[in-house]
Amino acid sequence: MKTTQLKSILIFTFTVMSISFAQAQDAISKYFSDYAANTDFTSITVSSKMFSLFSNIDTEDPQNKELLQAMSKLNGLKIITTEKLPKGFDLSKAIHRIPKGIFEELMSIDSPTEKVKFLIREQTGRVRELLMFVGSDSGLMIMSITGDIDLKEISKLSKSMNIGGMNYLENLDKDQKKSTK
Protein backbone atom coordinates (compact mmCIF):
# COMPACT_ATOMS: atom_id res chain seq x y z
CA MET A 1 0.00 0.00 0.00
CA LYS A 2 1.19 3.47 -0.81
CA THR A 3 2.33 5.68 2.06
CA THR A 4 -0.14 8.39 1.00
CA GLN A 5 -3.07 5.95 1.32
CA LEU A 6 -1.87 4.91 4.76
CA LYS A 7 -1.53 8.54 5.82
CA SER A 8 -5.05 9.34 4.57
CA ILE A 9 -6.55 6.45 6.56
CA LEU A 10 -4.72 7.52 9.71
CA ILE A 11 -5.67 11.19 9.35
CA PHE A 12 -9.31 10.23 8.74
CA THR A 13 -9.39 7.93 11.82
CA PHE A 14 -7.78 10.58 13.97
CA THR A 15 -10.17 13.31 12.77
CA VAL A 16 -13.28 11.18 13.36
CA MET A 17 -12.08 10.22 16.83
CA SER A 18 -11.13 13.78 17.75
CA ILE A 19 -14.55 15.09 16.68
CA SER A 20 -16.45 12.44 18.62
CA PHE A 21 -14.27 12.89 21.71
CA ALA A 22 -14.57 16.66 21.53
CA GLN A 23 -18.36 16.40 21.29
CA ALA A 24 -18.49 14.03 24.24
CA GLN A 25 -16.25 16.31 26.27
CA ASP A 26 -18.38 19.33 25.45
CA ALA A 27 -21.65 17.66 26.45
CA ILE A 28 -20.96 17.74 30.16
CA SER A 29 -19.22 21.09 30.36
CA LYS A 30 -21.82 22.83 28.20
CA TYR A 31 -24.59 21.39 30.28
CA PHE A 32 -24.27 23.61 33.30
CA SER A 33 -23.27 26.73 31.38
CA ASP A 34 -26.38 26.43 29.17
CA TYR A 35 -28.77 26.37 32.09
CA ALA A 36 -26.80 28.78 34.26
CA ALA A 37 -27.28 31.40 31.53
CA ASN A 38 -31.05 31.07 31.86
CA THR A 39 -32.49 33.49 34.46
CA ASP A 40 -35.20 30.99 35.41
CA PHE A 41 -32.51 28.62 36.64
CA THR A 42 -30.67 28.87 39.93
CA SER A 43 -27.26 27.29 40.25
CA ILE A 44 -25.29 26.29 43.31
CA THR A 45 -21.60 25.47 43.25
CA VAL A 46 -19.54 24.07 46.07
CA SER A 47 -15.87 23.82 45.11
CA SER A 48 -13.23 21.35 46.25
CA LYS A 49 -11.65 24.12 48.33
CA MET A 50 -14.93 24.62 50.18
CA PHE A 51 -15.23 20.86 50.70
CA SER A 52 -11.78 20.90 52.29
CA LEU A 53 -12.97 23.62 54.69
CA PHE A 54 -15.78 21.38 55.95
CA SER A 55 -13.23 19.51 58.04
CA ASN A 56 -12.99 22.61 60.29
CA ILE A 57 -16.70 22.48 61.16
CA ASP A 58 -17.28 21.40 64.76
CA THR A 59 -20.41 19.43 65.34
CA GLU A 60 -21.76 17.21 68.08
CA ASP A 61 -24.69 15.97 66.02
CA PRO A 62 -23.98 12.32 65.08
CA GLN A 63 -25.89 12.72 61.83
CA ASN A 64 -23.75 15.71 60.84
CA LYS A 65 -20.65 13.73 61.78
CA GLU A 66 -21.79 10.98 59.47
CA LEU A 67 -22.40 13.56 56.77
CA LEU A 68 -18.99 15.14 57.22
CA GLN A 69 -17.46 11.70 56.93
CA ALA A 70 -19.30 11.15 53.64
CA MET A 71 -18.37 14.63 52.40
CA SER A 72 -14.65 14.19 53.19
CA LYS A 73 -14.21 12.14 50.04
CA LEU A 74 -16.14 14.55 47.80
CA ASN A 75 -14.58 17.43 45.91
CA GLY A 76 -17.38 19.13 44.02
CA LEU A 77 -21.10 19.78 43.98
CA LYS A 78 -23.12 21.54 41.31
CA ILE A 79 -26.85 21.98 41.31
CA ILE A 80 -29.10 23.62 38.81
CA THR A 81 -32.74 24.02 39.66
CA THR A 82 -35.77 25.71 38.24
CA GLU A 83 -39.42 25.85 39.13
CA LYS A 84 -40.28 27.19 35.71
CA LEU A 85 -39.39 24.74 32.97
CA PRO A 86 -38.34 26.35 29.66
CA LYS A 87 -40.90 26.02 26.85
CA GLY A 88 -40.57 22.71 25.05
CA PHE A 89 -38.06 21.40 27.57
CA ASP A 90 -37.64 17.65 27.33
CA LEU A 91 -35.93 15.84 30.21
CA SER A 92 -35.10 12.78 28.09
CA LYS A 93 -33.37 15.00 25.52
CA ALA A 94 -31.43 16.72 28.28
CA ILE A 95 -30.30 13.35 29.60
CA HIS A 96 -29.28 12.24 26.12
CA ARG A 97 -26.70 15.02 26.04
CA ILE A 98 -24.66 13.14 28.61
CA PRO A 99 -21.91 11.10 26.91
CA LYS A 100 -23.04 7.48 27.01
CA GLY A 101 -19.62 5.86 26.93
CA ILE A 102 -18.57 7.79 30.00
CA PHE A 103 -21.72 7.78 32.10
CA GLU A 104 -23.93 4.81 32.73
CA GLU A 105 -27.38 4.71 34.18
CA LEU A 106 -27.55 3.63 37.80
CA MET A 107 -31.30 3.72 38.32
CA SER A 108 -34.41 5.59 37.33
CA ILE A 109 -37.76 6.33 38.92
CA ASP A 110 -40.66 6.90 36.61
CA SER A 111 -43.72 7.94 38.59
CA PRO A 112 -46.76 9.93 37.42
CA THR A 113 -45.51 12.98 39.32
CA GLU A 114 -41.78 12.93 38.67
CA LYS A 115 -39.00 11.35 36.70
CA VAL A 116 -35.65 10.68 38.32
CA LYS A 117 -32.49 9.38 36.73
CA PHE A 118 -29.16 8.59 38.33
CA LEU A 119 -26.06 8.32 36.19
CA ILE A 120 -22.56 7.49 37.33
CA ARG A 121 -19.08 7.88 35.90
CA GLU A 122 -16.63 5.25 37.06
CA GLN A 123 -12.87 5.26 36.97
CA THR A 124 -10.68 2.36 38.06
CA GLY A 125 -13.69 0.70 39.64
CA ARG A 126 -14.64 3.70 41.79
CA VAL A 127 -17.59 6.04 41.27
CA ARG A 128 -16.09 9.44 40.45
CA GLU A 129 -19.23 11.34 39.55
CA LEU A 130 -22.90 10.99 40.33
CA LEU A 131 -25.37 12.84 38.15
CA MET A 132 -28.97 13.13 39.18
CA PHE A 133 -31.84 14.42 37.08
CA VAL A 134 -35.17 15.12 38.72
CA GLY A 135 -37.92 16.38 36.47
CA SER A 136 -41.60 17.05 37.05
CA ASP A 137 -44.28 19.46 35.89
CA SER A 138 -43.32 21.78 38.71
CA GLY A 139 -39.61 21.92 38.12
CA LEU A 140 -36.29 20.43 37.26
CA MET A 141 -33.13 19.73 39.18
CA ILE A 142 -29.77 18.54 37.90
CA MET A 143 -27.13 17.66 40.44
CA SER A 144 -23.53 16.61 39.94
CA ILE A 145 -21.46 15.28 42.80
CA THR A 146 -17.77 14.56 42.15
CA GLY A 147 -15.09 12.86 44.19
CA ASP A 148 -14.66 9.36 45.55
CA ILE A 149 -18.32 8.47 45.91
CA ASP A 150 -19.54 5.63 48.08
CA LEU A 151 -23.13 5.02 46.97
CA LYS A 152 -23.89 2.82 49.98
CA GLU A 153 -22.73 5.57 52.33
CA ILE A 154 -24.90 8.17 50.57
CA SER A 155 -27.89 5.84 50.55
CA LYS A 156 -27.54 5.32 54.32
CA LEU A 157 -27.64 9.08 55.02
CA SER A 158 -31.33 9.70 54.53
CA LYS A 159 -32.80 6.70 56.31
CA SER A 160 -33.90 8.91 59.20
CA MET A 161 -34.37 12.22 57.40
CA ASN A 162 -35.85 11.87 53.94
CA ILE A 163 -36.65 14.96 51.94
CA GLY A 164 -38.87 13.63 49.20
CA GLY A 165 -39.44 14.67 45.65
CA MET A 166 -39.47 18.25 44.50
CA ASN A 167 -39.85 19.49 48.10
CA TYR A 168 -36.13 19.97 47.93
CA LEU A 169 -36.67 22.98 45.70
CA GLU A 170 -38.89 24.53 48.34
CA ASN A 171 -36.30 23.80 51.00
CA LEU A 172 -33.58 25.68 49.23
CA ASP A 173 -32.96 28.95 50.94
CA LYS A 174 -33.57 31.31 48.11
CA ASP A 175 -31.69 34.13 49.86
CA GLN A 176 -28.57 32.00 49.80
CA LYS A 177 -28.86 31.07 46.14
CA LYS A 178 -27.09 33.12 43.64
CA SER A 179 -26.44 32.50 40.03
CA THR A 180 -22.91 31.63 39.00
CA LYS A 181 -23.37 33.13 35.57
Partner: protein
Protein backbone atom coordinates in the same frame (compact mmCIF):
# COMPACT_ATOMS: atom_id res chain seq x y z
CA UNK B 1 24.01 -44.80 -28.22
CA UNK B 2 24.09 -48.53 -28.77
CA UNK B 3 25.74 -50.45 -26.02
CA UNK B 4 27.43 -53.53 -27.35
CA UNK B 5 28.78 -56.25 -25.07
CA UNK B 6 32.35 -55.48 -24.13
CA UNK B 7 35.05 -57.79 -22.93
CA UNK B 8 37.23 -57.10 -19.95
CA UNK B 9 40.22 -55.92 -22.04
CA UNK B 10 38.09 -53.35 -23.83
CA UNK B 11 36.76 -52.06 -20.55
CA UNK B 12 40.28 -51.88 -19.11
CA UNK B 13 41.41 -49.86 -22.11
CA UNK B 14 38.47 -47.52 -21.72
CA UNK B 15 39.22 -47.12 -18.02
CA UNK B 16 42.85 -46.24 -18.74
CA UNK B 17 41.70 -43.79 -21.39
CA UNK B 18 39.29 -42.25 -18.83
CA UNK B 19 41.98 -41.73 -16.22
CA UNK B 20 44.14 -40.14 -18.91
CA UNK B 21 41.28 -37.83 -19.68
CA UNK B 22 41.04 -38.91 -23.29
CA UNK B 23 37.54 -40.37 -23.31
CA UNK B 24 34.84 -38.75 -25.35
CA UNK B 25 31.52 -37.67 -23.86
CA UNK B 26 29.85 -40.75 -25.35
CA UNK B 27 32.46 -43.08 -23.90
CA UNK B 28 32.01 -41.49 -20.47
CA UNK B 29 28.24 -42.02 -20.74
CA UNK B 30 28.87 -45.65 -21.71
CA UNK B 31 31.11 -46.13 -18.66
CA UNK B 32 28.50 -44.53 -16.42
CA UNK B 33 25.70 -46.75 -17.73
CA UNK B 34 27.87 -49.84 -17.27
CA UNK B 35 28.61 -48.74 -13.70
CA UNK B 36 24.92 -48.17 -13.00
CA UNK B 37 23.93 -51.58 -14.45
CA UNK B 38 26.74 -53.26 -12.56
CA UNK B 39 28.06 -54.82 -15.78
CA UNK B 40 31.35 -53.00 -15.99
CA UNK B 41 34.27 -55.05 -14.93
CA UNK B 42 36.38 -52.09 -13.93
CA UNK B 43 38.05 -50.89 -10.76
CA UNK B 44 36.02 -50.04 -7.70
CA UNK B 45 37.61 -46.61 -7.67
CA UNK B 46 36.22 -45.75 -11.10
CA UNK B 47 32.87 -47.32 -10.28
CA UNK B 48 32.53 -45.15 -7.16
CA UNK B 49 33.61 -42.09 -9.05
CA UNK B 50 31.12 -42.68 -11.87
CA UNK B 51 28.21 -43.41 -9.57
CA UNK B 52 28.83 -40.42 -7.35
CA UNK B 53 29.30 -37.83 -10.03
CA UNK B 54 26.13 -36.29 -11.28
CA UNK B 55 25.59 -34.02 -14.12
CA UNK B 56 26.01 -30.44 -13.09
CA UNK B 57 22.66 -28.72 -13.06
CA UNK B 58 22.41 -26.10 -15.68
CA UNK B 59 21.58 -22.73 -14.24
CA UNK B 60 18.10 -21.69 -15.26
CA UNK B 61 15.81 -18.78 -14.60
CA UNK B 62 12.54 -19.41 -12.84
CA UNK B 63 9.07 -18.61 -14.19
CA UNK B 64 8.74 -15.50 -12.00
CA UNK B 65 11.74 -13.98 -13.75
CA UNK B 66 10.20 -14.66 -17.14
CA UNK B 67 6.83 -13.17 -16.18
CA UNK B 68 8.56 -10.19 -14.59
CA UNK B 69 10.66 -9.51 -17.69
CA UNK B 70 7.67 -10.08 -19.98
CA UNK B 71 5.54 -7.81 -17.80
CA UNK B 72 8.21 -5.13 -17.94
CA UNK B 73 8.58 -5.53 -21.70
CA UNK B 74 4.82 -5.38 -22.25
CA UNK B 75 4.43 -2.61 -19.68
CA UNK B 76 2.23 -4.79 -17.52
CA UNK B 77 4.36 -5.64 -14.54
CA UNK B 78 2.66 -8.02 -12.13
CA UNK B 79 0.19 -6.02 -9.95
CA UNK B 80 0.91 -6.20 -6.21
CA UNK B 81 -2.17 -6.71 -3.96
CA UNK B 82 -3.49 -3.43 -2.51
CA UNK B 83 -3.14 -4.51 1.14
CA UNK B 84 -0.58 -7.00 2.26
CA UNK B 85 -0.51 -8.61 5.68
CA UNK B 86 2.31 -6.27 6.59
CA UNK B 87 0.21 -3.23 5.63
CA UNK B 88 -2.66 -4.40 7.83
CA UNK B 89 -0.28 -4.87 10.73
CA UNK B 90 1.09 -1.35 10.20
CA UNK B 91 -2.41 0.16 10.08
CA UNK B 92 -3.53 -1.79 13.16
CA UNK B 93 -0.45 -0.67 15.09
CA UNK B 94 -0.95 2.96 14.06
CA UNK B 95 -4.66 2.87 15.00
CA UNK B 96 -3.83 1.28 18.35
CA UNK B 97 -1.36 4.09 19.07
CA UNK B 98 -3.90 6.77 18.04
CA UNK B 99 -6.70 5.18 20.11
CA UNK B 100 -4.45 4.95 23.17
CA UNK B 101 -3.31 8.55 22.79
CA UNK B 102 -6.84 9.79 22.17
CA UNK B 103 -8.19 7.87 25.16
CA UNK B 104 -5.44 9.18 27.39
CA UNK B 105 -6.01 12.78 26.21
CA UNK B 106 -9.75 12.38 26.58
CA UNK B 107 -9.62 11.12 30.16
CA UNK B 108 -7.16 13.90 30.98
CA UNK B 109 -9.53 16.45 29.44
CA UNK B 110 -12.48 15.08 31.40
CA UNK B 111 -10.45 15.19 34.60
CA UNK B 112 -9.37 18.77 33.90
CA UNK B 113 -12.93 19.74 33.09
CA UNK B 114 -14.16 18.28 36.35
CA UNK B 115 -11.30 19.96 38.17
CA UNK B 116 -12.26 23.24 36.50
CA UNK B 117 -15.86 22.70 37.54
CA UNK B 118 -14.90 21.89 41.09
CA UNK B 119 -12.59 24.89 41.27
CA UNK B 120 -15.39 27.10 39.95
CA UNK B 121 -16.47 30.09 41.97
CA UNK B 122 -18.27 29.05 45.11
CA UNK B 123 -21.85 30.11 45.61
CA UNK B 124 -21.25 30.44 49.34
CA UNK B 125 -18.44 32.22 51.15
CA UNK B 126 -19.30 30.74 54.51
CA UNK B 127 -18.32 27.05 54.88
CA UNK B 128 -21.20 26.45 57.29
CA UNK B 129 -23.76 27.70 54.78
CA UNK B 130 -22.08 25.64 52.05
CA UNK B 131 -22.14 22.62 54.36
CA UNK B 132 -25.84 23.15 55.08
CA UNK B 133 -26.65 23.31 51.37
CA UNK B 134 -24.48 20.28 50.61
CA UNK B 135 -26.17 18.42 53.46
CA UNK B 136 -29.61 19.15 52.01
CA UNK B 137 -28.46 18.13 48.52
CA UNK B 138 -26.93 14.88 49.73
CA UNK B 139 -29.99 14.06 51.83
CA UNK B 140 -32.18 14.71 48.83
CA UNK B 141 -30.00 12.52 46.59
CA UNK B 142 -29.96 9.80 49.23
CA UNK B 143 -33.75 10.05 49.62
CA UNK B 144 -34.24 9.68 45.91
CA UNK B 145 -31.81 6.79 45.77
CA UNK B 146 -33.68 4.98 48.52
CA UNK B 147 -36.97 5.71 46.77
CA UNK B 148 -35.55 4.01 43.69
CA UNK B 149 -34.38 1.07 45.75
CA UNK B 150 -37.75 0.67 47.53
CA UNK B 151 -39.16 -1.97 45.13
CA UNK B 152 -35.96 -4.03 45.52
CA UNK B 153 -36.15 -3.69 49.30
CA UNK B 154 -39.81 -4.77 49.27
CA UNK B 155 -38.94 -7.80 47.16
CA UNK B 156 -36.10 -8.67 49.50
CA UNK B 157 -38.46 -8.36 52.53
CA UNK B 158 -41.00 -10.58 50.75
CA UNK B 159 -38.32 -13.16 50.07
CA UNK B 160 -37.14 -13.06 53.71
CA UNK B 161 -40.75 -13.53 54.95
CA UNK B 162 -41.22 -16.42 52.54
CA UNK B 163 -38.06 -18.09 53.87
CA UNK B 164 -39.19 -17.55 57.48
CA UNK B 165 -42.59 -19.14 56.77
CA UNK B 166 -40.88 -22.04 55.01
CA UNK B 167 -38.56 -22.71 57.98
CA UNK B 168 -41.51 -22.46 60.43
CA UNK B 169 -43.40 -25.00 58.33
CA UNK B 170 -40.38 -27.33 58.38
CA UNK B 171 -40.12 -27.11 62.20
CA UNK B 172 -43.84 -27.86 62.61
CA UNK B 173 -43.59 -30.78 60.21
CA UNK B 174 -40.59 -32.24 62.11
CA UNK B 175 -42.44 -31.90 65.44
CA UNK B 176 -45.48 -33.73 64.01
CA UNK B 177 -43.27 -36.58 62.79
CA UNK B 178 -41.59 -36.92 66.21
CA UNK B 179 -44.96 -37.12 67.97
Amino acid sequence: MNITPMDASEIKKLEDKFWQGKTSLEEEKLLKSLAQDGNGNFSQELKTYLLNTTEEKKPSLDKDFDSFILGKVEGKAKVRPMFTRYDFARIAAAIAVIVSLAYFSYTTLIERDIERQTLAKDTFDDPEKAFEETRKALMFAAGMMNKGLEPATELSKFHETELAIQSADDILENDTIKQ
